[in-house]
Symmetry: C2
Amino acid sequence: MIPTITAFAQSPDRGRGLARDMAVRWALEEVGQPYEVRLLSFAALKEPAHRALQPFGQIPTYEEAALTLFESAAIVLRVAEQHPGLLPHSTDARAQAIAWMFAAKSTVEPPIVERSMALLLEADRPWHAERLTMLDERVRTRLDDLSRWLAYRDWLEEAFSAADVVMVTVLRRLGGSGFLEEQPTIASYVARGETRPAFKRAFEAQRAVFAAAEA
Amino acid sequence: MIPTITAFAQSPDRGRGLARDMAVRWALEEVGQPYEVRLLSFAALKEPAHRALQPFGQIPTYEEAALTLFESAAIVLRVAEQHPGLLPHSTDARAQAIAWMFAAKSTVEPPIVERSMALLLEADRPWHAERLTMLDERVRTRLDDLSRWLAYRDWLEEAFSAADVVMVTVLRRLGGSGFLEEQPTIASYVARGETRPAFKRAFEAQRAVFAAAEA
């Protein structure tokens, strides 16, 4: 049974692998699971047919036989639970990897997304510079903490796991911001992720969608 | 083996059950698992001893034999996996409940927290009113979507689950904002959660900490 995921027909990230299908594609590539992709227009995202799968009208979703799932990290976790290679065997170590998945989405990602939204939506407001300083500080605090954790580690836990798939995709949203250049430990961590063949295949797959839409 | 969690010695929520130990306490009460609490000052949160358990210097943490965990939703999931009653039996339904846990923390909570932070940190800035309008709109969009999902349901999935523990605790942060009054479906959902005896025990336990600190 080949699962089907959804992705943007025309991703606002212009093929840079920043949309949330990227983590799901990467996880599927890591475990060698082929998948199909259903591309959705922005209008289709908000239609009832899609909202039945994704109550918030977002991508990605995941359909596999009778199961439908949403939330990229939950899909990555499902893939990791159904295939070997993305979670430790021990129950305790597995719980710790899942904790890092929540940390990525609920502690590290929000200030990064908030900063991106301010750049996108508030750049013309008179307060923009002052607010950006506050937002930068919040991102930097999280990165400093994460950097301390990664200082003596290649991956969040003992071996590469689903947690790294989620965390690296979250951190990649900082590309171009200058933060990764400030944080060599985190930059190396992201680069280690991006070097993995499964990451590269996933990246090319999502880039091909954007290239086809442009052509 | 009685697990130990950490919580604020003096919670900034003044005992209203909005700190992130609340979901963990609630889950533990739902499954009837006694627990101990180690209270931490704000200074202790940032010390190396605590950061070894919680890299971002936050509460709660969870210690049980050799396992240490952080991120409240990950702890709730661990509790739900170790005890019956908080997750469906079927693997597919279980994955869907976990998806809602991620949705609560990564899709619903961030705009709510962002709005709280703006009220707390930016109320004296000239941009505050204009920004608050934008933030209100983002919160309202999420609540409208969630309300549509809950319109014909008592709980996020077929029965009460760990997902509801996490979602209700996230939504309770809106108390006093007026949003719950605008959203009767969501207000009823939160009230259903708050009526559960396990919620009440957890709420009283965290309030007792605050009362003792005040006394």
